[in-house]
């Protein structure tokens, strides 16, 4: 009985050893939940919204040409313990879609810490400004995305689906969600045409 117990304990410890080796103290880790891509002073700006207990959003903005560069810059200069594995929402301003959208999606698909089910959407310029003042806004955006996803079956709302549409040989165009925040939040669809 004792031997069985030791054997089971060893099996369980082999799981725990592998599973917890990359653990970080929650208070020391800077967990990004939402990232927006906007434009400030004519430059592309990536804003990392971090998990926090404060009432107002905690965020860091980084000027970069791509998401890859933004992540590297953020880690080396501003947020050394940045964790991207819990990223739930990636919002890009529509006017920057041609410039950054495809390369950012490609970068995310190549890194194992990003979830393929992360919500990815386009938005108007107002939303990125509103997000820095309203902590609840990302949750509302996600709720809207869930609703529109259930309604429109062909709509691509996560990075897995958008990547497949960008890089498969079949589709020349596909639809992604677009958040219109002029009066109240409203989700529309935008067609993306991609040259294969």
């Amino acid at each position: 009985m004792n031997k069985k117990f030791i054997l089971i304990l060893l099996c369980i410890s082999s799981i725990l050893i592998t599973g917890c080796s990359s653990s970080k103290q929650i208070d020391k880790a800077s967990i990004a939940e939402t990232i927006t891509v906007g434009e400030k002073d004519g430059k592309t700006c990536y804003t990392f919204f971090l998990l926090s207990s404060s009432d107002s959003p905690v965020f860091t903005s980084v000027f970069a040409e791509s998401f890859e560069e933004a992540c590297e810059k953020a880690k080396s200069e501003y947020i050394p313990n940045l964790s991207l594995s819990k990223l739930e929402l990636f919002i890009t301003e529509e006017r920057l879609a041609d410039k950054t959208f495809k390369t950012d999606i490609k970068y995310m698909s190549e890194k194992p810490y990003f979830s393929p089910l992360m919500y990815v959407t386009l938005c108007d310029a107002n939303l990125t400004e509103k997000l820095v003042n309203d902590k609840m806004l990302p949750k509302q955006v996600e709720e809207h995305l869930v609703l529109i996803k259930n309604k429109s079956k062909g709509l691509s709302v996560n990075s897995l689906s958008i990547f497949n549409n960008f890089f498969s040989d079949i589709n020349q165009e596909f639809s992604v969600s677009y958040i219109n925040s002029n009066n109240e939040l409203k989700v529309e669809t935008k067609v993306i045409k991609d040259e294969k």
């Binding site: 054997l7 082999s14 490609k106 089910l117």
Partner: protein, 351 residues
């Protein structure tokens, strides 16, 4: 500390099934981009048919004599057994190294790139030395728990991906190239190393029926086919962006807002590689003529660890030790050529 009481053959075949699935969990092999699902399925069926054939010589020995291959060889050629033992020991060291490197690579790429990979290998080997010393029976009992855990994990991964399925009818066309077929078949054939484990350890079992082999290999093939199916119809192009498609499937599985079962994938990988290396250490013991010996298990674990250090310091060694073509050739010799030679020349050797 292997007991002399024989355990049911079904349990060894359960072990073999779990050892077999480690191949698809630990391989960073991607299916060919231009080959269709049907084409890949065809190569899978071919590879698993070959794997089943690899079991035949040792199954015949077991059915006729109730002995494993090493005991049979010891009786037939007591003077030449040292060469056979040496070859099998080398084969098992190579196989253990193959899986240890694959596991540590996966650990580094998917779990923690900052971890000390030598410490990971050392801890894993230490656990395996203990299990290897305890014997196949003890590992077999442990496998029941691992099987239950794996069953639940795969059930969650597959059912969590059903909502992501996008059936693309072009995948059901037979499309692919000869080189893709060779690559695929060779990759899937890696699971045939289990035939050598069966050949060496089957002596500890009772109530053997050939259909148990067919069942074990068949279930492994079905599992591989399911992983391939979900890879093709859930991940699509995304599968080529990263290694380890099974890991990606565990990340895409979700039930409503509950998502990301990658920890389950990592746990099954750790458990199956633990089983593989423990069984191999046990096989090494058996090949040296002892059912269980702590000094032998420890000595070979040290050899495996030293080779592992060499592999991580010299890339050429690593490439050589993780080549599945070499593993398949060695498996073919160990599972088919040598046992068949003993089977056909049995009478002459007796004389």
């Amino acid at each position: 500390m292997q007991t002399k009481i024989k355990f049911p053959s079904k349990r060894l075949l359960l072990l073999i099934f779990l050892a077999g699935i480690s191949v698809i969990l630990l391989e960073c092999f991607n299916l060919p981009k231009n080959a269709s699902f049907l084409f890949n399925l065809f190569s899978l069926v071919c590879a698993f048919s070959l794997t089943a054939l690899f079991f035949i010589p040792s199954a015949i020995i077991k059915s006729r004599t109730d002995l494993d291959f090493m005991s049979y060889a010891h009786i037939k050629t007591p003077n030449a057994i040292i060469f056979v033992s040496a070859f099998y020991c080398l084969y098992f060291v190579y196989t253990a190294e193959y899986f240890l490197i694959k596991y540590c690579d996966m650990f580094y790429k998917k779990l923690n790139s900052e971890a000390d990979i030598f410490a990971v290998a050392l801890v894993l080997l230490a656990v395996c030395v203990y299990a290897g010393y305890k014997g196949t029976n003890a590992i077999g009992r442990c496998s029941i728990f691992i099987f239950s855990f794996s069953f639940v994990a795969f059930l969650l991964i597959f059912s969590g991906n059903i909502s992501n399925l996008e059936i693309n009818t072009t995948e059901f066309l037979f499309r692919g190239q000869k080189s893709d077929f060779i690559n695929n078949t060779s990759f899937f054939l890696t699971t045939s190393f289990t035939a050598v484990i069966f050949a060496v350890l089957s002596g500890f079992t009772k109530n053997f029926r050939p259909r148990q082999i067919a069942f074990s290999v068949g279930i492994t093939a079905v599992l591989f086919a399911l992983i391939m199916f979900f890879t093709s119809f859930v991940l699509g192009e995304y599968a080529f962006a990263q290694d380890y498609s099974c890991f990606l499937l565990s990340k895409t599985a979700h039930f409503g807002n509950v998502e990301g079962f990658d920890s389950l994938y990592l746990s099954i990988s750790a458990l199956t590689v633990f089983l593989v290396i423990s069984l191999i250490l046990n096989c090494i013991c058996k090949s040296t003529g002892k059912s269980s010996s702590f000094p032998i298990v420890l000595a070979f674990a040290v050899i495996i660890f030293v080779l592992f250090i060499c592999a991580y310091n010299f890339n050429e060694v690593k490439v050589l030790l993780t080549n599945h073509y070499i593993l398949n050739i060695l498996t073919f010799i160990s599972a088919v050529v040598i046992p068949t030679f003993y089977l056909f020349s049995g009478r002459k050797l007796n004389e």
